[in-house]
């Protein structure tokens, strides 16, 4: 399993647009990708669940990928975070 922590810098947090982008990206991999905040873990591919985490600016989230393509999946998602959030 591959995982990384990320501190959100976007001032509205993980809002609809990046959540949608992340969900779309997560679906492209075979690995299961999760996002966790304060012990609550949801699938990154599920847009509404990700939004329901209510991730705000300054929050730390842990993203993990598990599966055959976990290395590239984790790298790609990390890129999306740093570009958009």
């Amino acid at each position: 399993m591959k995982s990384f922590d990320y501190i959100i810098k976007d001032k509205i947090g993980i809002h609809a647009r990046p959540a949608g982008m992340l969900a779309k990206a997560a679906k492209e991999f075979r690995s299961e990708i999760f996002i966790e905040k304060n012990g609550k873990r949801v699938s990154l591919a599920k847009l509404m669940q990700v939004m329901s985490l209510g991730v705000k600016c300054g929050d730390t989230v842990t993203v993990s990928a598990e599966g055959e393509d976990e290395d590239i999946a984790s790298e790609r998602i990390r890129e999306l975070f740093s570009e958009n959030l």
């Binding site: 809002h15 609809a16 969900a23 939004m51």
Partner: protein, 545 residues
Amino acid sequence: MRKYFGKGVYGAIAVGKISLFRKKETEVCRHGISDVESELTRLAKAKEKATAELSEIYERALREVGEDNASIFETHIMMLDDDDYNESIRNIIENRHVNAEYAVAVTAENFAGMFSSMEDSYMQGRAADVKDISSRLISCMSEEEAGDAMPTEESVICADDLAPSQTVLFDKEKVLAFVTCHGSRNSHTAILARNMNIPAVVGVGKEFLSEIKDGDTAFVDGYTGEVIINPDEETMKMMKEKQKNDLEKKELLKTLKGKENITLDGRKINIYANIGSVDHVGAALFNDAGGIGLFRSEFLYLERSDYPSEKTQFDAYKRVLECMGGRKVIIRTLDIGADKKADYFGLSHEENPAMGFRAIRICLERTDIFKTQLRALFRASAYGNLGIMFPMITSVREVERILEICDEVKKELSSEGTAYNAKTEIGIMIETPAAALISEKLARLVDFFSIGTNDLTQYTLAADRQNPLAEQFCDPHHEAVLRLIEMTAENAHKQGIWVGICGELASDTSLTREFLRMGIDELSVSPTYILKVREAVRNTDLSKE
């Protein structure tokens, strides 16, 4: 005439006929089904259709409001494709053997409920998105051709609530304004209205719709959130005027915001704002003020029952300084007297308050009040670029006394270890003929002058500005007044200090050229005049007659 208040979403003003927008009510009934498979097929077809519609709306929004705002519809498409959302609908159909419409409606309620119970107002706003995609999905299942009645002529659209997809589908040319009973500033509808530059007021209350009808006239003020239905003639005239000014100002903003205050031949001048409360800082910044040239501190004293504490004052001063970043903020100390008084000061009635016990005269006698204000001011000086200004000066002795008290206050703060900016500029108002005439001496004591033309005019011309009979004599263009201003400017520059004008005359663009010629360094005007004065400065060429 009736008035309603909501939240103004986009600062603009509109007047026009109301067109009520009623969503086609798609009543969702629950009924049992036996063929689960065919119900799931209906659902899948509807989803396909809804997605296609949303793609079309997305394309349209892309053209009309730009990619950043159109992206909400892309998100809608993804929400419609969300695993949990779809699973919930499917489960309800399969387990409860009910029609797809009902399953969608129940799912929409649940998901919308989840978002509206979140703390974050942005997320609460997403509940509307869930409802929007769900009602689209439901209407895609019906046989009838969907589509809402669109206004055919220019109108103020009034609705219970508007979905983002509806907002963007309106013909921009036909919409003068949006008014909705519900909705928040953060809703996508609000955001879209802002980007379509359409005045909008949301959340005026649920009674609104039942109390208006098609064809009523509505005045919509997107700045204040005010909506007036069928205004009387006088109100209408005022509103039209307000709208006209607003449009002119917007035009100015477009061309002048961010530009320098510089004449054609290269002379620069500062244009600052006059404000009377912390709330006006926004207007000053919006209109591109280079600083605050006059912050009247009276608001802290008036309309209350006791003296404001050092902390109350400190908080207010600090806020203004912080909001203005490093820009200059000149705060004028208490300027009250028998004409503008607070009961708790216990001032006695005067026959001629303009020439009586007021402003600095009170402060130098009641040094306790004065020192409290100075302590608050110096403490706040650590948070920005502060200048302190004293009103109603008539003698050198007064200024010397003020400086002594300032030094006492600074010493106190130093010994307490409280931070303040030791280089805080100290200035005085030149608003009496006496101060103008001895300005050469006064200039040696302070860092700047600010000329208060309203009082300078009334004292120079012996014409009480409160007395209507004396109005004809109260002419600020009088040569005597202009000579005193010029004399003050010359004396200031001889001593190497700067001089500004903060009275109403500063915004009189027929004198801008004259002030520039005199070498005035700063004009401080009400926020709404800043850009007008900037325009006048930029059209002036001092090298030509």
